[in-house]
Symmetry: C2
Amino acid sequence: MRLTTKGRYAVTAMLDLAINHNKDSVTLRNIAENQKISLSYLEQLFAKLRKQDLVKGMRGPGGGYRLARSADEISIAQIIRAVDEPMEFTDCHGLENCKGGERCLSHHLWVQLTDQLDDFLSNIYLGALMRESEQALEQRRTEPRQTGDRQKVTVPMH
Amino acid sequence: MRLTTKGRYAVTAMLDLAINHNKDSVTLRNIAENQKISLSYLEQLFAKLRKQDLVKGMRGPGGGYRLARSADEISIAQIIRAVDEPMEFTDCHGLENCKGGERCLSHHLWVQLTDQLDDFLSNIYLGALMRESEQALEQRRTEPRQTGDRQKVTVPMH
DNA sequence: TATAATACCTAGTATTTTAGTAGGTTATAA
DNA sequence: TTATAACCTACTAAAATACTAGGTATTATA
Ligand code: FES
Ligand code: FES
């Protein structure tokens, strides 16, 4: 019941990319520095994101990455799945055989839980998170030195 | 984004215990055999469940384990937490510092996700799962040889 | 009172996964 | 031609997980 840095890095990096959509492209070196993520590790994650057509890379000087689609068409679920995080709570992966060939007592519970999570992450889009982040940043700019103002944002519940 | 066998074993074993509540107690050896779980590993899990007052152990011949409380007062969240599965999706564990001291871009998302999961698992009780299992078993007894009748059960959504 | 069954405890280890490093090659703008 | 960036592959360190081994303590019962 963990989410690893792989998924977190991927979402964070994609968010960085979405926020900088006004620029032509963003280099991984930039993202690595901004978000404090190992460059080489990022490259590996982006290889997977590219294979799933979530980002587009451009080589050479001035090159970098950009979203392959609108931020409003990329869900968090897609990102996490792209970098190989299973998003699956059953042990049997649907085969109903984790109890030495048989279905275990709690199988159904994990299926329900998986559905719940999937539903949640499939309905949150990068675009929404991006706008929230920008709003938070804007607010911090206009109301400086106001600490403790934990940003209250709405994430759509299914 | 996985749930490990630790949590799955714990819930499955607790469910086994709940289903056999009519018996005075159930030995771990029984559970291990029924559910195909390593006995020694189960013992370690039950040490944790006991510390959280979820089960009560009785030594000696005829001894074993029983639920420390009614199955309707034990939530799945309690079980999973008891065996040390974090149930937490942030990397910072609330400290907002996973980006080298600063809060990362996606922090809020993981908080929301954690809340979602917690809410779900906190509202499912062992008692409900137990009754579902019994019902499924009963149905299989009265309608034998009827394959493909995937049991449709209701798990409360929050 | 001896025995066996059970919980209870601790340390170690094998395996797997994760996270990261190293060291390249290719493409391309300037 | 050069520098910059993507792109690629293999290796490695660290951590977590799953499991094993080998005990001790308690207690019903023969
Ligand atoms: S999780 Fe599917 S059979 Fe156990
Ligand atoms: S998850 Fe909390 S700061 Fe990154």
